[in-house]
Subunit: 217 residues, 2 copies
């Protein structure tokens, strides 16, 4: 059964691939599962029909038969558990790959998101400049620790997993901040992710939504 | 095989049960799995021996035979997948319970953590009072959405799952903020969690570490 996901009707990042449906598109492309997309306006996100699918009024959602899921991490895990290609077969390696999924979303993403959120919401406040070094240092701490663990490896657990998939999408939010460039091994890691054919197909599909809008690209 | 977890040697919250080993202790108590605890000092957290277990130098970790895991969410999921009691048997209900685990950690916890972090780290800054309403409103948004979904139910998916376990630990950080009291159904939900025998055993075990320290309670 072809699953249906939701995505923004109008891209907040002008097609840069940061909206979280990108994670689900990429996972589906990695495992070769075709999918349908339903575009949702910002207004519709907060309406009861969409809230029934997603209690927090966000994208992406995932519908497959009787199942409706929300949370990009949960959706990627659902896909990874049901198709070969995103989780190792060996049980311990599989558990470690899942730990990297949680690490990406719970430990690495929060300071990166806070840095971006401060820019978007508090960029014009008198305290913004004073807080910026603290916010950047929180990101640097996590990047340094992640780079130390990655070492010279291509992927966090040797082979590409859904842990890498989520981690690359999290790190991509730093494009333009200059912070990723301070950690060349992580910058290269992100490029490795972005060069995967499945990533490129997912990015092109998300980008096409933006390009097709009036006044798009 | 009895797993070994790590916990703080010295409780930063004076035994209030907010340290994240609480999540793992509670999950292990719910499924009736005995466990061992190794206490770690703040200094040891940042040393290579602990970093080998946890790349980000935090607690908890989970060791079971050849397997070493980090990230409380991943550890709770690992336990929930291997023992009955924390995830429904029916596949769709099981996937939804896992979605609530991700929702607790990725959508509800970040604004709650940011509110607490601002108090701890920026409480003495001149901008703290001006930012506080914004930080509280971000929390209120998520609490309102969560309360709307919970409705009059006892648990998010009808029966208690590891999604509720994580959500309750996330919401407990609001004790003392007054915010939880604005949402009586969520306050009652947290109490329901705290009244579970497995929660009480886990809390007592974590608290005993604090009480046993010189100058403890």
């Amino acid at each position: 059964m072809t699953p249906t996901i939701t995505a923004f009707e109008a891209s907040p990042d002008r097609g840069a691939g940061l909206a979280r449906d990108m994670r689900v598109r990429w996972a589906l492309e990695e495992v070769g599962q075709p999918y349908a997309v339903r575009l949702v306006s910002f207004a519709a996100l907060k309406q009861p029909a969409h809230r029934a699918l997603h209690p927090f009024g966000q994208i992406p959602t995932y519908e497959e038969g009787d199942l409706a899921l929300f949370e990009s991490g949960a959706i990627v895990l659902h896909i990874a558990e049901r198709h070969p290609g995103l989780l190792p077969e060996e049980p311990n390696a599989r558990s470690r790959a899942i730990a990297w999924m949680f690490a990406a979303l719970d430990t690495v993403e929060p300071p990166i998101w806070d840095l971006d959120l401060a820019r978007m919401v508090e960029g014009d406040k008198p305290w913004h400049a004073a807080r910026q070094p603290m916010l950047e240092d929180r990101v640097r701490q996590r990047l340094g620790e992640l780079a130390a663990r990655l070492g010279g490896a291509d992927w966090l657990e040797g082979v590409f997993t859904s842990g890498d998939l989520l981690m690359v999408t999290v790190l991509r939010r730093l494009h333009g901040s200059g912070l990723l460039d301070e950690y060349p091994s992580l910058a290269a890691y992100v490029v490795r992710g972005e060069m995967r054919p499945a990533y490129r197909r997912a990015f092109a599909a998300q980008r096409a939504v933006f390009d097709s809008r009036p006044g798009g690209s």
